[in-house]
Amino acid sequence: MHNLGTVFRFEVIRSLKKKSFWITALSFPVIIAVVVAVIFFSNKSSDEVAENAKNEKFSIAITDASNVIPETISSQYEAQRVAESQKQATIDKVSNGTLDAYFYYPSDLSRDRVEVYGEDVGLFNNGKYEAVAKLLLQQSVASNVDPQTTAILQDTVGFSAATYKDGRQFDGIKELIAPGIFLVMFYFLIAMFGNQMLTSTTEEKENRVIEMVLTTIEARVLIIGKIISLLVLAAIQAFIVLVPVLVIYLLFREQLQLPSFDLTSIPLDPVRIAIGAVLFLFSFLLFTGMLVGIGAASPTAKEAGGFFGIAMVFIFGPLYAVTLFFSQPDSPIVRFLTFFPLTAPIPLMLRNAIGNLTTFDVVLGIGILAVSAVVALSIAIRMFRYGALEYSKRLSLKTIFAKKTL
């Protein structure tokens, strides 16, 4: 393993020199920045429009067949009340521009629609007519009932809930966060670097450098060096992605109307966090082994890339049963997905985050992942070792396992 550091440095440095690495790394923060800018200016523009609309005076006429809107409310808006018989004549006034808006409130509001007529003032500003018509109704109702009833009717009553598990307060959503980070990290790594793992060894084959490599360095040292370099590159990329997100959150949280988040309120369960870390490690090694193995068995990076979908099926497939992971953790389908090696990472990490893994599940799951990871990596190294000289064709499993030794 004495060349591990050399391989690691070579792989990291040459990746950092590639334009594609920086394009990939920077594209995400740039997209976030663009989206944030659009939201920021859109919010600012909306606020300005709303403020202008509030201060803007426009002539209104109403017909209240429902008898819900009292004079006191309609007079606040300087709304002219017209008889039902004048409905068409008033609509004509709006049509010919002598009146800005006319609202017709039917006798049965629970059945019929309120009719709103207004002079066109642009796509975004036309909404003000309906907003004012609704406001007239809301203020009219509120004037007849107490504030509590208003809050109930308007669904603005606040709630605070506390749930308990094993004798302590347990917030299911917040409890998800710390152990769930490993699941997010796993998806991030595979999504951002899966293809790179897949093609990490094809360069040696495509460039015909493999014979010199195999007579200079052990295959497993090269593979492990490449895997470690991918982890470090992922950390660098995560840093590049997360730093702008944090900066934007801290500096522009209020402007972007992002929710305030108290990090100190996140529960930290050391046992589940430790289990999550172990599951993440073995899951990562399992998929790395699988992807590197597929790449080693393929003659070109292009052909290897075609197999990326297979890995994605195992990673995203279990998400179709995500509701079952929460509601029926003991169902046969959940147990199968949890303990079948290639689908196990997602159910195990998700169920660990939810908190419905038993001790037996944890031990069995970690055992299955650990053994699978070792087997996958061993096969990957073997595939690289013996697939090396299959320059122009895909390596068959028969060829790999027919070899006696590494």
Binding site: N3, E203, N207, V209, E211, M212, T215, T216, L389, S392
Partner: protein, 264 residues
């Protein structure tokens, strides 16, 4: 013709750096090497001759553990080769290639470090070699932008960078012009004079005459001739090596490239 196995008695096994005994190799049910036995003595230049597809590269790859032999033993310094075995090896394979998107100097230093040199030493040796082969101005050029001959020179530089005890060169002059071929011959002689053992796979008989102490001729996976150049010539009635080659392989198309895949 001296039999390969019989000729073994003329070698001193205690001085052998490479020992191949009853080596057999099957590919897809077809036997391509049949019970091949020979030794390479420490410090000699050994010519490994044969037409394309005769099994030279397969033998070399099996000796270096790249292929798993079907039978027999292939030893370097008395044990099967692996990169941790301690023998300082320089191997220039028949299949040429390097990391095409990296610079010349980065790749040379990388391989130098993998071969056990410090970064500084690898850099110094790389610079000296580039100066010798007049490629100093290409040090920071990516390998993919070099001509085939220039890339081959870089690969040769990497092969000899660690002053190997055993230098295995599989058709090293393929694609070289006469000037570079002369340069390569000089480099091989320098390493031989420094005590290195050289196994030299080639079709060029003038190179064999100039450099090799002993040779082996493979035909159809078997040793057709084995011994010193004088012994082989004597066995063939005093013919030149060129004539021997033509008489042995004349019925074969030596321009064909029987790669491993095709053999399979």
């Amino acid at each position: 013709m001296p039999d390969a196995t019989a000729t073994k008695s003329r070698t001193n096994s205690t001085e052998a750096i490479v020992t191949i005994d009853n080596f057999r190799m099957d590919f897809g049910g077809k036997t391509v090497i049949k019970d091949l036995s020979f030794e390479v003595q420490r410090g000699e230049v050994f010519g490994f001759l044969g037409s394309n597809g005769s099994g030279k590269t397969t033998t070399i790859r099996s000796l270096l553990g790249i292929y798993q032999p079907t039978g027999g033993t292939l030893l370097i310094d008395g044990k099967p080769f692996n990169v941790a075995s301690g023998t300082k090896l320089g191997y220039l394979p028949e299949e040429r290639g390097l990391y095409k998107n990296e610079s010349v100097i980065d790749v040379m230093v990388y391989f130098g470090q993998l071969k056990g040199l410090s970064k500084t030493d690898a850099k110094q040796r790389s610079d000296a070699y580039l100066e010798r082969v007049k490629l100093t101005d290409k040090a920071k050029t990516t390998l993919g932008k070099l001509s085939g001959g220039q890339q081959q020179k870089i690969q040769l530089g990497i092969t000899i960078m660690n002053d190997p005890e055993l230098l295995i060169l599989d058709e090293p002059t393929k694609g070289f012009d006469p000037v570079n071929r002369r340069l390569l011959m000089d480099i091989i002689e320098e390493h031989q004079n420094a005590g290195a053992t050289v196994i030299f796979v080639t079709h060029q008989m003038e190179e064999v005459e100039r450099l090799c102490d002993r040779i082996i001729l493979l035909k159809d996976g078997k040793a057709h001739a084995y011994g010193t150049i004088a012994e082989v010539k004597k066995e063939h009635g005093g013919m030149s090596l060129d004539d021997i080659f033509i008489s042995v392989y004349g019925d074969e198309n030596t321009e064909q490239d029987h790669t491993h895949e095709e053999v399979k």
